[in-house]
């Protein structure tokens, strides 16, 4: 599988050095970050492609330290965390990653205001969603509320860079974001996009988001919530066979010191069935998972 997947990554890399979500589209920061991270772990022959990916990322960084979704859009985006993580993991270019981290630390997600906070404190059962509205993580887009997946990416980036970041606010922000994530955990463990219940009805978790989130919390592996969510992930993995979910799960379980060989065999089978719909993100994560990439991303 790895050989075919790597060949597919080479085949989809754009002439500008970035990777698109699938063949023929514009390069995106998310896909370029993940493909670069994956190929950088391979031998020198593959590193040339990864180096072009790094150059694309460096060239696309905005003056404020953020990254856009695509070079053409320019607007700062959630993919800043992924680009920061990638550069911090594989290059000796601290200024780029540091500026990305500082942009992340400046982001303030939207909170629903005093009235909603008051209702949460006084009568939490009256709210349509059961979550603490004041806990800040990171949003998908500036000006809206925190969600689990962008917060998990930001945690991975900030934890990797933490030794190089100064200021008490770094630890405080990481701590608050972790509390936000635990607050949004589903009843039986695991996470979806960021809501455990709506209008009193429990929502179910997703395997890919749960694995990613657990990965970002791997430095808290002894916590009861992590154990419950790992159990939830194992249950979900009996139902899910996608490249995205299996790859994140292999990275996650590897970071928790568990045997991932059975998952990698399933990943191989899944590849033969669907080729992961030629989705660059899934292919890159599969390469990363198959090359013990947890060490490149886990805290």
């Amino acid at each position: 599988m790895i050989g075919e997947a790597v060949a597919m990554l080479h085949g989809t890399q754009n002439r500008d050095g970035g990777w698109p979500s699938s063949h023929g589209r514009a390069s995106s920061t998310e896909c370029t970050s993940l493909a670069t991270l994956a190929l950088a772990r391979l031998d020198a022959g593959e590193r040339a492609a990864a180096d072009r990916g790094v150059r694309w990322l460096v060239a696309c960084q905005n003056a404020d330290g953020s990254w856009p979704l695509h070079r053409e859009t320019g607007t700062p985006s959630w993919t800043t965390a992924l680009a920061t993580l990638t550069i911090a993991s594989i290059t000796d270019e601290p200024s780029c990653a540091g500026r990305g981290a500082r942009w992340l630390l400046r982001q303030q997600p939207r909170t629903p205001g005093m009235l909603a906070s008051l209702v949460y404190r006084v009568a939490p059962q009256a709210r349509v969603v059961q979550l603490d509205p004041e806990l800040r993580g990171w949003p998908w887009t500036s000006g809206v509320s925190s969600f689990v997946e962008p917060t998990a990416y930001a945690l991975l980036a900030l934890k990797r860079l933490r030794p190089r970041l100064s200021g008490a606010e770094v630890g405080a922000r990481i701590d608050e974001a972790e509390r936000m994530i635990y607050d949004r955990m589903c009843r039986d463990g695991g996470w979806n996009y960021g809501n455990s219940a709506v209008l009193g009805a429990d929502l179910w978790p997703y395997a890919d988001v749960t694995a990613l989130t657990l990965l970002s919390l791997a430095d808290h592996r002894g916590r009861r919530e992590n154990e419950r969510s790992l159990a939830a992930l194992r249950r979900m993995l009996t139902q899910v066979d996608s490249g995205l979910a299996l790859s994140w799960a292999a990275l996650c379980l590897s970071a928790y010191g568990q045997d991932v060989a059975p998952l990698l065999r399933r990943l191989h089978l899944s590849w033969t069935r669907t080729h992961f719909l030629a989705d660059t993100r899934s292919i890159a994560l599969a390469v990363l998972a198959a090359t013990d990439g947890a060490r490149a991303v886990a805290p």
Partner: protein
């Protein structure tokens, strides 16, 4: 999730905003999007089950309209939000298969299936678990994940959200005909989710987040209206009402057999008719009440039923208590 606001506060705020907006009366839509024509034609076609008669039924429904799709690119936009093995969340894959075949028989050059799932980023899981992947392979039809498609900023042609412009996927912008294929469902924020709400899936999650939460902050009613008035593509709708969802839709409601497909070109008239099939007064659904002012026809006497009459196929869909007023016909 919509926002952290409690429902009552949210609705009160929306009413105050609407009242204030009414005082100043800014131009809320461009003249270019005002619906033309004094009447709209809608077809309600019985379809008891998801069986192999569907292709003929869909083809018959499509041919009731003067849709020239010969040598054109048709994009089918079903509703695939997330997968629940016990639920009826998504447009049935058999209906998507039937629509692919029907539009091919009608002469389309290419039929593409495209969706930007609202909750789930794991498209491969959604497609394989739901059975849509098998349908696409069998039909050799191309699927585009709109959440990751290339996008272009398009100036909004109505101005309810204040977003100013919308990022729309190239696959949708290049279509000759965009076919909304929603499930007939109730919705715990919007009242109902039909062909117009289904267009949320045209806006990429990479830009608008999951579950398209930028649009939730901008207002669901407001976003539905702005998206539908801004899409610069010819539109058609096929509503999957064979088995719908009542109660706590769009995810956790209960199945409701209704045995119909609804066809039409005017999205407001399609949704108004679909709501009436659910015994819901479309005039009490905020997005329909607003869209009915300029984007299409809402009033029954402006909608010509060219298939079965509503009364023969109407079902009593239950709604959440907060939407009980929608069941009282004015």
């Amino acid at each position: 999730m919509t926002s952290g606001l409690p429902r009552r506060a949210f609705l009160s705020g929306a009413l105050v905003s609407a009242a204030l907006a009414g005082c100043s009366r800014p131009a809320r839509w461009d003249r270019s999007v005002v619906h033309q024509g004094s009447r709209s034609r809608i077809a309600i076609v019985p379809a008891r089950d998801y069986d192999d008669r569907l292709v003929e039924i869909v083809l018959r429904g499509v041919r009731m309209f003067a849709l020239d799709v010969a040598r054109k690119t048709v994009v089918l936009k079903p509703n695939f939000v997330e997968f629940d093995p016990a639920g009826v969340v998504n447009t049935h894959p058999a209906l998507v298969a039937a629509a692919i075949e029907a539009f091919r028989r009608a002469g389309a050059r290419e039929v593409i299936v495209a969706e930007g799932p609202g909750h789930h980023r794991d498209t491969e899981h959604l497609l394989t678990a739901s059975g849509l992947y098998g349908v696409l392979r069998e039909a050799r039809a191309r699927y585009v994940d709109l959440n990751g498609d290339d996008v272009r900023a398009v100036r909004a042609r109505s101005h309810y959200t204040g977003l100013g412009e919308l990022y729309l996927p190239e696959t949708v912008l290049k279509a000759d005909l965009l076919v909304s294929m929603p499930k007939l469902k109730t919705h715990h924020w919007a009242g109902v989710t039909l062909s117009m709400k289904n267009m949320f899936g045209c806006l990429p999650g990479s830009v608008y987040g999951f579950p398209k939460n930028v649009l939730h902050w901008a207002g669901i009613t407001e976003s539905i209206v702005d998206i539908n008035s801004t899409l610069p593509v010819r539109r058609f709708a096929i509503v999957d009402g064979i088995v719908g969802m009542e109660g706590n839709g769009p995810i956790q409601g209960d199945r409701k057999h209704c045995g119909v497909l609804v066809f039409g070109e005017d999205p407001v008239a399609v949704d108004a008719t679909s709501a009436r099939l659910m015994t819901i007064d479309p005039r009490r659904v905020p997005y329909l009440a607003e869209a009915g002012r300029f984007l299409g026809h809402l009033a029954e006497d402006r909608i010509e039923q060219i298939g079965e009459p509503i009364d023969r196929l109407r079902q009593d869909f239950t709604v959440l208590p907060s939407f009980a007023h929608m069941k009282r016909f004015a």
